[in-house]
Each structure stands twice: as structure tokens, then as C-alpha cells.
């Protein structure tokens, strides 16, 4: 198997846009190719993430559409849909295509547009990633899924609403330092705790926003990347799944797919949680960050809430988490999120993150969760 490196990354401003998901991806891809110093003519495939294009844009077949807008209409392209983990799944398959020797240069990315429809409509479309026979007819929402996780975590470990709120406060603080973030505004613990319930015990400020945006990553084989000083190496990339139905999850206070994917990715990388300097993980809800820090082995089960409260996951803390602002403040254009997280970790490992730089970071991790915790991807990156 050949080694694979990230040569370039690009991310649009996250927020509301008057452009289609394909246009947003293409903007990010232009930046990623320029960053990589790779001509579009060299790209041999596009692996693309898009989730609700069929609903919000009446658009399927988004892979070739995105490639056409970018101006590489003849490369093979496939759209991946694993709910919110879509472009991280696309990334893993692109890595495998290069590692297997099929292609030398592959583009990965995603685009999503949801702010052109109402909140009630997008809430319904996102809920399509839960089960249509058992869960959707009862009005389950994604805040609802993570509210069940939160309640189970609170019952088992004594996690508090204030600890969850600390995650939101921290990620908003980080988001201020990211000019691409949807929210560049600090919020207080009191603001979070006084915000209205969306799905008890999760409140408005425990939830990430709906977001339009695009992100892209240029991958290359060792032969191409070897001479590139800013290359960041993919040390490991793993996917794991779990039962689709909430009732079939073995323990709602844990995300088993995170634990399985993390173990596989660390093994591939020859790294352990103690080696990790910086993490971008899936904080679609504040409790999701707490459970992910535990599942990634950064903290003991039950200690994730304490870690957030004590500042261990803040910039300057033991292991900074979501320096970009995370999904909470940077925003969550679902099909683009995995690629955007990779872009942040690559920027950190290159030492190019400016005011939000984690000093001396050499090993980074990205973690992306799909929908009802049934899909998780974890990747490990390094400078060497």
C-alpha cells in the first residue's frame, strides 16, 4: 500500500449563501488546488459528499454536477451519503484509491445547501437519516437523538447541563478566531443555560446551526507528495458502523462506532490517544463532543464533561478540541463537514492556523459522526 498525503485544502465561508452546493464545493476546490499547487488537469477522480441535495435543491447526481461546475467534467466521480459523515467517508475511499495504486491525485470534498428552506423543513430532511418505519413516524429529530444520549450520559455519569454548556462556550470562543466560521461571537455560560429547550436536556445553544458551505481536500500519492514541504500525511483512516435503530444500541451513553473506528485508526497510524495534539470532532450537539472525547480515548468514560468544564479541551489546554469553532460555531454544512474538519487539522499541523494555532502540533485527529450514531469515521494525520 502506498502512503497518501494531503497537499491542499480549501473551505468556503460557512453561513448562508445564494449559491448551490455545487458552486460552494467548486469555490473550495479552487482554493484547495491552488493551495496544493496542483493543476485541475492532474485530478484523476472526485469523491464527493452531499446529503440532502435531493430534498433542498431537488438535485441528485451531485458528483458529476460538482465536477462539471469545477471544470473537470470527465473525471470519474461518486457521491457518498453517510449522513453527516459523508465527505469523511468519501475521503477514506479516496485514500484507498491512491494507496491501492489506482490514482496518484484525487480530489475529495463536499457541498451542502439547507438555508434556502425553512427550519421545519430542514429538521424533517435531516430526520430522514433516522429509520423511516420506526423513528420518523414518531417525530424523532436529531436534537432528539442526542438528547437521549445526553440523558443516558447524565444518568450514568452525573454529567451536567453546565458541563454541556461549557462545550458551547469554548467552541464559540474558538470560532471567534476563525474568519470562515458562521458565528464569530463569544457566548456566556448563562446565555447557553437560559436558552430554550429544543429537546430536553438540549437547549438552543447546545445545538449546531444549519449551514450552507463547501470544503475540499487534494490528496496525492507518496511519489507526488515526497518533495512537498507542506504535505500532511494520512497515518490512518477508519470507518465503523453501529445498529441503525436507537433501540438496538447497546449503551446510549456511548457511541460504539466511535470507539471501534478510533481503535482501528490508531492501530493503522501506530499512535495512541496520548500522542494526539489537536482534534476536530463531531460536536453537532454539545453532548456529542463530550461523548466523542471519551470514545476517542482522550478522557475516561464519564470524564468528558469535566474536561470541557476544566478547560482541558480549550486552546492552551491538554488537548485542544475544535480549534475551528467546531460544528457549533464554525457551522455544519453536513455534506462538507468531514472535509472541512480535515482542512482544519492540516492547517494546524502545517503551523498555519494563526491566532488559533496549537503550538508544536505534529499529530492530529478528525472524527465525523453520521446521523443517529450509526456511522463514524476517524482519521489520524501527521507531519512525518
Amino acid at each position: 500500500m502506498r502512503r497518501v498525503a494531503v497537499l491542499g485544502v480549501g473551505v468556503t465561508k460557512f453561513g448562508k449563501h445564494e449559491r448551490t452546493s455545487g458552486e460552494l464545493f467548486a469555490e473550495a476546490a479552487v482554493d484547495a488546488l491552488a493551495d496544493a499547487e496542483i493543476s485541475p488537469a492532474k485530478v484523476q477522480a472526485l469523491y464527493y459528499g452531499n446529503v440532502v441535495g435531493g430534498e433542498t435543491e431537488h438535485q441528485l447526481h451531485t458528483g458529476p454536477q460538482a465536477a462539471s461546475i469545477l471544470g473537470i467534467p470527465t473525471v470519474p466521480t461518486t457521491r457518498f451519503e453517510t449522513a453527516c459523515a459523508s465527505s469523511h467517508a468519501a475521503f477514506r475511499h479516496a485514500v484507498m484509491e491512491i494507496a491501492a495504486g489506482i490514482s496518484d491525485v484525487v480530489l475529495v470534498g463536499g457541498g451542502e445547501r439547507v438555508l434556502n428552506v425553512s427550519t421545519a423543513a430542514s429538521t424533517e430532511y435531516f430526520a430522514y437519516a433516522s429509520d423511516a418505519s420506526w423513528e420518523q413516524p414518531l417525530g424523532l429529530t436529531f436534537p432528539g437523538v442526542f438528547a437521549l444520549v445526553a440523558r443516558a450520559h447524565m444518568a450514568k455519569h452525573g454529567t451536567t447541563e453546565a458541563q454541556m454548556a461549557a462545550v458551547a462556550v469554548k467552541n464559540h470562543k474558538h470560532g471567534v478566531l476563525n474568519p470562515k466560521a458562521q458565528f464569530q461571537k463569544e457566548i456566556s455560560l448563562e446565555t447557553v443555560l437560559k436558552s430554550p429547550y429544543i429537546a430536553d436536556p438540549l437547549k438552543l445553544y447546545d445545538c449546531c446551526p444549519f449551514t450552507d458551505g463547501g470544503a475540499a481536500v487534494v490528496l496525492a500519492a507518496e511519489e507526488v507528495a515526497r518533495t512537498r514541504k507542506r504535505a500532511v500525511w494520512v497515518l490512518g483512516t477508519a470507518a465503523a458502523s453501529d445498529s441503525m435503530l436507537l433501540g438496538d444500541k447497546k449503551d446510549l451513553s456511548r457511541v460504539m462506532a466511535t470507539e471501534r473506528a478510533a481503535k482501528a485508526a490508531y492501530t493503522q497510524a501506530g499512535r495512541s490517544p496520548a500522542d494526539v495534539d489537536v482534534v476536530e470532532l463531531h460536536d453537532c450537539f454539545t453532548i456529542a463532543e463530550i461523548v466523542a472525547t471519551e470514545g476517542l480515548g482522550l478522557f475516561e468514560p464519564g470524564a468528558g464533561g469535566i474536561a470541557a468544564e476544566k478547560g482541558w479541551t480549550s486552546l492552551g489546554g491538554k488537548v485542544p478540541v475544535n480549534t475551528s469553532g467546531g460544528l457549533k460555531a464554525k457551522g455544519h454544512p453536513i455534506g462538507a463537514t468531514g472535509a472541512a474538519q480535515i482542512a482544519e487539522i492540516v492547517t494546524q499541523l502545517r503551523g498555519e492556523a494563526g491566532p488559533r494555532q496549537v503550538d508544536g502540533a505534529t499529530t492530529g485527529v478528525t472524527h465525523t459522526l453520521g446521523g443517529n450514531t450509526a456511522t463514524v469515521l476517524v482519521s489520524v494525520f501527521g507531519r512525518e
Partner: protein, 123 residues
């Protein structure tokens, strides 16, 4: 084989149907081809009493478009006495009385052609 249609046709009449693995004894909610625990394919259809305890719950206040008129409403995961767990709407329990571990009993929710799983107080 118990299909989704069979399950919900019976649920509409107030009966919950499970399947029990002949290999390891695990009780699952159909449809399922292989047992996820031991990968045997030797199911026996078993009636489920419908009694269980609440594992986790939430009150959904911002609902999808289709359910906006129902909000706020409680949903949760209930562990049935036979072992399998199932997601459902929780009816007729004041929100402030909801608690992890409380006993609940199955009752069908029927709306036109759609049947779904509900739970209510035992007494």
C-alpha cells in the same frame, strides 16, 4: 419471517412481536435475517408482553414539519421485559414525571394507515 408489515399489522391490534434466536437466545425486533450476536439464522417468533422500563427519554419541542402540530411530545427508548429495546412515543405521562427506570407499557399509535409504537403508564 416477520416482515415490517406483519409487525405493524399486529401492533395495530395491540400485540408486539419479537423474534428469539435459536443459537444464542437473544430477543430482537424484526425484521432481521441473521442474529447480530451469533450470526445464526434460526429465529422463533415470540409474543412480547409489552412491559418495560424507560432507558432514556426527551421532550421534543422543535419538531419536523410533519409533527409540528403535536409538539411538545415525549419520546424514549424502552427496554422490554424480554430483553429487546424499542423506541416509542411516551403518552399520558406528565413531562415532569418522566424518569429513567420508570415502568411503561406498550400501546399502539394509529393514525390513518400509519401504525407506530407508543408507551403509556402501567396502572
Amino acid at each position: 419471517m416477520v416482515t415490517l408489515k406483519t409487525f405493524f399489522d399486529r401492533a395495530r391490534e395491540g400485540r408486539l412481536t419479537g423474534i428469539k434466536c435459536g443459537g444464542c437466545g437473544e430477543v430482537a425486533i424484526p425484521p432481521r435475517e441473521f442474529c447480530a450476536s451469533c450470526h445464526a439464522r434460526a429465529w422463533q417468533v415470540v409474543p412480547l408482553a409489552g412491559d418495560g422500563t424507560l432507558v432514556s427519554y426527551t421532550v421534543i419541542r422543535v419538531a419536523p414539519a410533519k409533527h409540528a402540530a403535536d409538539a411538545p411530545y415525549a419520546v424514549g427508548v424502552v427496554k422490554l421485559s424480554e430483553g429487546a429495546s424499542i423506541f416509542g412515543r411516551i403518552l399520558d405521562v406528565p413531562f415532569e414525571k418522566l424518569a429513567v427506570g420508570m415502568p411503561l407499557r406498550f400501546r399502539p399509535i394509529v393514525a390513518d394507515a400509519q401504525t407506530s409504537v407508543g408507551f403509556g403508564p402501567i396502572a
